[in-house]
């Protein structure tokens, strides 16, 4: 992976910026990001940090020869995955073990004239799609739904599968479902976060064999419903309850 082929957007209409109102209907102009990555100290000019996933701390390296970027955790032993960034645009950098991703916006003319390396850390954007599970929700149980769109940024069709790479680490769990398996059609706006979307079956595939194949035409959107289940009498608090979706691309 190199250029960022896909983006995730809230739904609820083009002007909606509230994740709690991301319940289907039209796509929002608001992108769905999971973390705020930041330079620890000095920056690498021409490289703006956009988004990240599963990132705690990585070294971001720019190699002048070849104009390439890469990331690695200090514990990584495999060779880094280099991405050529000689053209302006957003790129997805992946750690050698594929567990961490960092999206950067590159302005080629501003890149350094020598190689450099900086440390990047990230903080989670809390409640970026679901709201907090209250104590009362934990006591009586709670099932909520959210919806977002994935946009194909390519000028050609894209086939996708979505898997739950990392299930929530609390005692709640998420499942995903689709109203349409071919993109370009607007999903139904559900009445509220407690309303199950009609005709949508939910599952939690952890590998591509069990995941639904989705087809997204060029520059089109495809909707994803997410169901979050909190069981009654859930007794353990989890302040940082995090899940990771992996969107696998087939071109």
């Amino acid at each position: 992976m190199a250029a960022r082929n896909i983006d995730a957007y809230l739904s609820g209409g083009v002007t909606n910026t509230d994740p709690n109102a991301s319940l289907g209907g039209g796509a929002s102009a608001e992108k769905l990001y999971g973390q705020n990555p930041a330079y620890d100290a000095a920056t690498i000019s021409g490289v703006t940090l956009v988004d990240s996933a599963n990132l705690s701390s990585v070294e971001l390296s720019f190699t002048f020869a070849g104009t390439v970027l890469s990331i690695r955790k200090t514990t990584d032993v495999l060779p880094v995955i280099e991405v050529t960034v000689s053209v302006d645009g957003e790129y997805v950098l992946v750690s050698p073990d594929n567990s961490v991703e960092l999206t950067v916006l590159v302005t080629n003319a501003s890149l350094p004239v020598s190689s450099s390396m900086e440390t990047i850390t990230a903080t989670n954007i809390n409640h970026n799609l679901f709201d907090q599970v209250s104590s009362n929700n934990s006591k009586v149980g709670d099932i909520n739904y959210r919806h977002f769109y994935i946009k194909n940024n390519l000028a050609s069709d894209l086939s996708l599968k979505i898997i739950i790479e990392k299930q929530l680490n609390g005692l709640d769990y998420i499942e995903i479902g689709f109203e349409n398996t071919t993109g370009g059609t607007q999903d139904t706006l559900i009445q509220d976060e407690n309303t199950q979307p009609a005709g949508v079956s939910f599952s939690s595939p952890s590998d591509v064999l069990n995941a639904t194949l989705l087809t997204v035409p060029a520059f089109a959107y495809i909707g994803v419903f997410i169901k979050r289940t909190v069981l009654a009498l859930t007794d353990i608090s989890t302040p940082n309850d995090t899940a990771i979706l992996n969107i696998v691309e087939y071109q």
Binding site: A53, I125, D131, S138, L168, N169, T229, D241
Partner: protein, 204 residues
């Protein structure tokens, strides 16, 4: 490409401070498309086998039934089984610790002269979110398994079933001078006992 979702979960207060005295399981068959009413099924015995590789785990629920109600289960066989595991406190409160929701893979009923049982089997990958590494300082039995590989040893520990939530496949484990990874978690449940075993693979 990875997308991350974050929220905070406030657990209901009180449960974490109470003494856990056992585990309880409930199961119901339900329809994803509301074609039939939910049916709660009593549990004679229950096995949850969770392994590391792929989709080779299974849940087996053995339910007491009768000639009269055997059709109640059979007509719902295309449904899903929602199995919930609860910890039970000394004052009788139940706290949910895991929910497993899978469609029925296999079923069988055995009719005897005086009694009958129905067995439902769900096959899938039941991996739960991994916890952090565990130092195993308490277990009721330990058994060495033979291994086909000379470089790998396997041990099975019988541990406190009330700690069910803390064990998951893939977690690193340390016991004495042995360290390895949990490769199987088996919860064996009957009307009279609950047994939890963890199989650990170690480098020898």
């Amino acid at each position: 490409m990875l997308f991350q979702i974050n929220h905070s979960l406030l657990g209901t207060s009180g449960g974490g401070d109470l003494e856990v005295v056992g585990l309880v399981a409930t199961a119901k068959i339900y329809s994803l498309s509301s074609l039939f009413d939910d049916l709660y099924i009593p549990i004679n015995s229950l096995s949850i086998i969770n392994r590391a590789v792929g989709s080779d785990g299974y849940i087996s629920i053995n339910s007491p039934t009768s000639r009269l109600n055997i059709s109640d289960i059979t007509e719902r066989i295309a449904g899903n089984v929602l199995l919930k595991i609860y910890s039970k406190t000394a004052n009788g409160e139940l706290y949910a610790i895991q929910a497993l929701d899978y469609e029925v893979s296999d079923f069988r009923y055995d009719l005897g002269v005086k009694n009958a049982t129905y067995t439902l089997v769900m096959r899938d990958d039941f991996s739960s979110p991994p916890n952090t590494n565990i130092i195993l300082d308490s277990y009721s039995s330990k058994k060495k398994l033979n291994s086909q590989s000379a470089t790998v040893g396997k041990y099975v520990y019988t541990v406190n079933p009330n700690d069910y939530r803390y064990y998951s496949v893939g977690v690193g484990i340390i016991e004495g001078n042995l360290s390895g990874t949990i490769t199987e978690v088996a919860l064996l449940f009957s009307n009279t006992s609950v047994k939890l075993t963890i199989e650990t693979e170690v480098i020898v």
